[in-house]
Amino acid sequence: MFRTLTLILALLMGASAVAQPLRIEITDGVIEPMPFAAPRFIAQDSGAMELSGDIVSVLSTDLMRTGLFRVLDERAHIGKISSLNAPVEYADWKAINAQVLITGSVATGTRGELKVSFRIHDVFAGQEYGKGLQFKGKTSDWRRMAHKVADEVYSRITGESGYFDSRVVFVAESGSKGQRRKRLAIMDYDGEQLEYLDDGAHLVLAPRIAPDGKSVLFTSYETGFPQIYQMDLRNKRRKLLQSTVGTTSFAPRFSPDGTQIVYSQEQGGNTDVFLMSLRSGQARRLTSAPSIETAPSFSPDGRQIVFESDRSGSQQLYVMNVNGEGIKRISFGDGRYGTPVWSPRGDMIAFTKQSRGRFHIGVMRTDGSEERLLTASFLDEGPTWSPNGRVIMFTRETQGVGGVSNLYSVDVSGRNLQRVATPSGGSDPTWSPLRR
């Protein structure tokens, strides 16, 4: 017994005497898109021939739009994928420096069904990222199916949820600057599948989509005063959300659970932040300063609200508890801060900043620290977060009489600034949650 114990201890101590490993520390890497290969998905039938190419195209575009991936030209491919379940010759893909390989197949049914199966390979590790998956839906939804595949690829490689299968409600603008027509519209995050929600007869502003993505709040001048409306996105019917007729209300935003809204209301020349229950219609005042308090936005946990106020003499950002107590200023830099929006992650607040004649979109920690300006132009404003809190979309307006407004997006790191393709101009975007 003791001999055995002795032997075990001897082995353990002997193991401890093994030479120490070489230890090095790396702090300097590279920031570059990850090259990936996405050969055309295998068409299982004649009906899937065209769709297989379209799906890969949308999938590749989604990934490249993030700035984190770079697709390798199909003409450079050495390896061929003949079957989704056949072993992959990783050496062929290593040779073209593909770090990720996406293989898939597409099948259609006689009743308009569509099935997309795919696998994601880590080329240099010589193994898959998890197991293969398949989506099933209708052929008419092929684009959304491609977004779903892209979301899965993005999620498995970056560890974060994707944002490709999401929608954006915004104000579509057309016409000259003096006679601009503004209509509510909804589209996919990439500008596709555009659909108008009204006829543009009345001025509309600042749409804000619900946490479930099924309805949208917006401000309309239909009555002559700015008033808050809620529209059901399924049938485009709307209702007025206001407890006091004749007052001006604007800048609404949903609570995270979708049961309440915060908004600004002007009463007697003073603008304050109010909280309203969507069930009862009861509203209560959260601020009562003689200054202008507006642009409130909930934290993801629903416990706090960030808003802008000029109570200090200049427009700054403040955070308060959802009951209106504990107001604390968080912005102290030069210039004016406005339109704050809490990140879905909860760790950052995006804002618009005007300083020295330039407008910026910026982010800061919720306590106001680590402020970073991501953009700079003649007029940037109205940030909205992607569902995963990684990308910010905003409005950029160009200077001059012929100036136009367009939607842009930028990574939270300040990289990858891109214009969002829309048929005409656009402003006031609001990003939906990821669709289910």
Partner: protein
């Protein structure tokens, strides 16, 4: 003159009066047009919507994510009849997909989908033996010696000749007719074998001499002398430890094959290795994984290649497990991608880089 004043006074008075009472200074308010807007409660709004015809809304019935079947070929809808698709519904009664738009129930199409197994296209590479034979080279500065003992016995040397003081006359043989013997055999001088050692060196002594020049650090203090157990009947932990120490001492005293004395990796050699890996370390700045410092351990082959199966995360700081896994993947990709035909490391120092731990710290990258 006064008439002018009078006229001026009247004109001014008239103008002031018109300004006061004629409405010039009175603000003109625009009539505010109020539109009658009915305020609906939530219940009324829902009732209104329910009573109206709901227009067709784009439907989407994306089914749940399902793993592929563990078969050689994925079942295709072409091979399935519609009936077969319908029959598959009861087999999986709980679709994960969310129905998006009531009131029309969303029909989900599901097929049985058992778990798949990972495709191992490439069989795992056999482990390559990493043991390396080092040349048995002595570090002794003494010249190579010949055999320690001469191969043949040596005859004792002759006594040196003594010169006598008395001159002796040459003797004449009795038979003078006999010719004198001219050829006297030459006596060779006896010498020791060349380079023979004056001392017999045993193998044990030779190994001891080599150990003295070994660069390997002592595993235990040189003055450590275990004491024998005092009581053989009572074996406690101290006794066991002592016994272990003794066994280690004995092990250390055994002769070991000599190794060449190799200097440690220089700073430049370590920097070169670091640069090779960092060139492939792509950091996703802005992600949560960029807040994680991860340490990856691995084993290397003598040719500088990484034993892929040995890569493992041995620690992380600054995030949760999920973020750490992503950071580990990025580090692993960098290590595997940049090795190419093997990392350029000094082969003679293999023992020093056979096991490597790399800490990937992205804190500086976040500031870029």
């Amino acid at each position: 003159m006064q008439a002018g004043y009078v006229i001026s006074g009247i004109a001014h008075a008239g103008f002031i009066g018109w300004a006061l009472f004629g409405g010039m200074l009175t603000p003109k308010y625009q009539d505010i047009v109020f539109n009658n807007v009915s305020v609906l409660s939530e219940a009324e709004f829902q009732a209104m919507i329910a009573s109206d015809q709901v227009p067709e809304v784009p439907q989407f019935d994306l089914t749940a994510l399902e793993p592929l079947e563990d078969k050689d070929d994925v079942p295709t809808l072409v091979e399935q009849t519609d009936q077969e698709v319908d029959q598959s519904e009861p087999e999986q009664p709980e679709p994960v997909a969310e129905k998006i738009t009531p009131p029309e129930p969303v029909e989900t199409l599901v097929v049985p989908t058992p778990d798949i197994t990972t495709l191992d296209a490439q069989p795992p590479a056999p482990e390559i033996e990493t043991a390396m034979m080092l040349p048995d080279v002595s570090t002794d500065s003494a010249p190579i010696q010949a055999n320690r003992v001469a191969p043949t016995p040596v005859a004792p040397p002759e006594q040196p000749a003594i010169v006598d003081d008395v001159t002796q006359e040459a003797t004449v043989p009795a038979d003078a007719t006999e010719p004198p013997v001219e050829d006297v055999p030459e006596v060779k001088e006896t010498t020791a074998p060349e380079a023979a050692s004056s001392e017999i060196i045993t193998e044990a002594k030779k190994e001891d001499a080599k150990r003295q020049s070994s660069p390997r650090p002592m595993l235990r203090p040189s003055n450590f002398k275990p004491t024998p157990p005092t009581d053989a009947g009572e074996t406690n932990l101290e006794d066991i430890l002592r016994e272990v120490a003794q066994s280690e001492t004995l092990e250390a005293s055994k002769p070991k094959p000599a190794k060449k004395s190799v200097p440690p990796l220089t700073g430049g050699e370590q920097d070169a290795f670091r640069n090779q890996v960092s060139n492939c370390w792509s950091v996703n700045v802005g992600s949560r994984a960029a807040n994680v410092t991860v340490t990856i351990a691995m084993e290397m082959q003598p040719d500088g290649k990484v034993v892929a199966s040995s890569l493992e995360m041995v620690g992380f700081e600054g995030g949760n497990q999920s973020d750490a896994n992503v950071a580990f993947q990025a580090g692993r990709r960098a290590i595997l991608r940049c090795q190419k035909d093997g990392y350029d490391l000094p082969k003679d120092k293999y023992d020093q880089w056979r096991n490597v731990e790399i800490k990937f710290d992205p804190s500086e990258m976040r500031k870029r």
